[in-house]
């Protein structure tokens, strides 16, 4: 899709990008990461010819970008920067309509596209006639993303788009950005200096140092086999925990050796069932298999007896949560076993702390 072939860029004799080759795959989210000044932004800016390169070549769909008029090229590539750069004198509508208007689309088509894009970035159509100064940081970021998608470009370039957002909103924006990408499946080049962001979002991660490519691979592969000390340091001490954020809870669900009961059964029946299976917890499901409660056994202070407790609002994890998120729910609640549900709260099985630990130790 986008091929960088031995690209070199010098600023006043100083090498910014050094003989860099990178093949960016169609439909994938490729993260460029490295310390500041490593040349990641320069690399990205060369793709839409905002920065010219000195040596080598960059090809878009097999065509050297130097053969494409820069203005035409840029209109065909979405572009988002950290400061967003919304036009303050344009409404949200006009901002999103920017590239379609440059391409002289007809107004009906533009209106339909603006409505569609506001919906994709989960902004109400009421926002269309607001001005950027009237929006919050997160809303501006969404409008910036919508604007870059204006003319439905195949390729998106994003330069630290969430860098200026506070950590809590950043996580939310990342989540919705991932969902949007699942829908639109664009070829995205995403510059970041945040390793957690790179691992969370990236299909592919390219690690750049001093203008050279250090490692380029799937996020999981990089976590498992860092190419050198530099990558190890970049990943940090907790890379086995980071690896957990790549794994989904749904892949670790256990379905046997567990007890589910209906809300009609008596405590005596439930205790009997639990003792037969030699487990301590029973999950209560309604007729739709929705999780509605939990029984657990505890040794009584009186000898040779057990007590049974009921909780009508049990802690659970969702099947699409990452293992890291499930682990933190477990650590916070002190539970070693959690029920796993889907987004409608239908019970799908359980997950055990031990299994997560085993995954860490792999």
């Amino acid at each position: 899709m986008i091929e960088l072939i031995n690209v070199t860029k010098k600023f006043d004799g100083k090498v910014a990008v050094n003989n860099l080759s990178l093949n960016i795959e169609k439909g994938k989210l490729t993260m460029l990461i490295g310390p500041s000044g490593c040349g990641k932004t320069t690399t990205m800016r060369m793709i839409n010819r905002l920065t010219p390169y000195n040596k080598g070549d960059i090809k878009l769909n097999g065509v050297s970008i130097n053969k494409i008029d820069p203005v035409t090229l840029r209109r065909s590539i979405g572009y988002v920067i950290q400061e967003i750069g919304l036009f303050p004198h344009f409404t949200v509508y006009d901002n999103i309509a920017t590239v379609p208007r440059l391409l002289k689309w007809d107004e009906k088509k533009i209106r339909k596209r603006v409505e569609e894009l506001l919906d994709i970035v989960t902004l109400d159509f009421n926002f269309a006639y607001k001005y950027p100064l009237q929006l919050s940081g997160g809303e501006r970021q969404r409008v910036g993303l919508a604007r870059s998608l204006g003319a439905d470009p195949e390729v998106l370039l994003m330069d630290e788009p969430f860098g200026a957002i506070d950590p809590i909103n950043r996580l939310k924006l990342q989540d919705s950005f991932l969902e949007i990408q699942e829908e639109i499946k664009k070829t995205i080049v995403f510059v970041t200096h945040d390793i957690n962001e790179a691992i969370k979002l990236g299909d592919k991660v390219a690690i750049i140092k001093d203008g050279s490519l250090v490692q380029y691979d799937d996020a999981a592969e990089i976590l498992a086999n860092p190419a050198n000390k530099f990558v190890e340091n970049l990943l940090g001490q907790d890379r086995s925990i980071k690896a957990l954020s790549l794994k989904k809870t749904k892949d670790f669900i256990l379905k046997d050796n567990l007890v589910t009961v209906s809300n009609r059964e008596t405590e005596r029946e439930i205790i009997k069932k639990l003792q037969e299976k030699k487990v301590k917890i029973a999950f209560v499901l309604d007729k739709y298999h929705k999780l509605i409660g939990r029984y657990w056994l505890e040794k009584s202070k009186k000898k040779e007896q057990v007590e049974i407790n009921f909780d009508d609002n049990p802690i659970f994890t969702e099947r699409n949560n990452s293992l890291k998120e499930t682990l933190s729910i477990m650590l916070e609640s002190g539970e070693k076993i959690l029920p796993v549900v889907n987004r409608k709260k239908i019970f799908t099985g359980i997950i055990k702390l031990n299994d997560i630990f085993e995954e860490v130790n792999k």
């Binding site: 839409n48 905002l50 840029r74 400061e83 750069g85 036009f87 004198h89 009237q134």
Partner: protein
């Protein structure tokens, strides 16, 4: 009372000189805007930001030069009459126009220009659709002070034969007739106020709504 009498008796003369004054003003302002804004646009093109900054500091300092000095210099090189008067008015009013337009365009955030470029705006589109509309309030500020300065300085320019309301002031001075002097001063002050009100309205009208938007 004597002032009012003079006004009523010389109604036609004052009106004629006011028109002359306005003529000097409007010609000088239009030419100064064209030259000044063009200069500022040239000085703020991409890659010439250093020159733009230099121009901002030069014009900033030039505002301290007294108007009479400019008028005297033009008189020495061009002579007397309405044309030298207009030339000196243009030169003198260029200073605030260039100062404001240049600093206004330079203060458009780089991120906005960068975003425009990255989305495929041409050079001209960046200028006319991004830089100028965003800098409009600052550019208009320069034009408003230039207008006030021209009306005031045109009074002085009458010493080199520019005509206008300055004639009344100098006649009043020479003949020791305060009512004549006052008629000239009052009329030019009134003109300056009216013109500024009009320009304030123009500024409000052409400033893009989004720049004034509040939550």
């Amino acid at each position: 009372m004597i002032f009012l009498n003079y006004f009523l008796e010389n109604y036609n003369k004052i009106l004629r000189l006011s028109f002359q004054h306005f003529y000097l003003f409007i010609i000088s302002l239009i030419i100064a805007i064209i030259i000044g804004v063009t200069l500022s646009i040239m000085a703020t093109e991409e890659g010439k930001e250093k020159m733009g900054k230099l121009i901002v500091s030069i014009t900033g300092a030039a505002q301290a030069v007294p108007s009479i000095a400019v008028i005297a210099l033009v008189f020495i090189y061009v002579g007397i009459g309405a044309v030298p008067a207009i030339i000196s008015l243009i030169i003198y009013s260029l200073v605030p126009i260039v100062f404001n337009a240049t600093s206004g365009i330079l203060s458009v955030p780089q991120s906005i220009i960068e975003a425009g470029k990255g989305m495929g705006f041409t050079r001209n589109q960046i200028l006319w659709k991004i830089k100028i509309p965003i800098a409009i309030p600052v550019i208009m500020g320069g034009i408003r002070s230039a207008a006030t300065i021209i009306i005031g300085t045109a009074v002085v320019a009458s010493v080199i034969g520019g005509g206008g309301l300055g004639d009344l002031i100098f006649i009043g001075l020479k003949l020791n007739k305060p009512e004549v002097l006052f008629a000239g001063a009052f009329s030019s002050a009134l003109m300056a106020i009216i013109i500024d009100i009009i320009l304030a309205w123009v500024e409000k009208t052409i400033t893009p709504k989004g720049l004034k938007a509040r939550k």
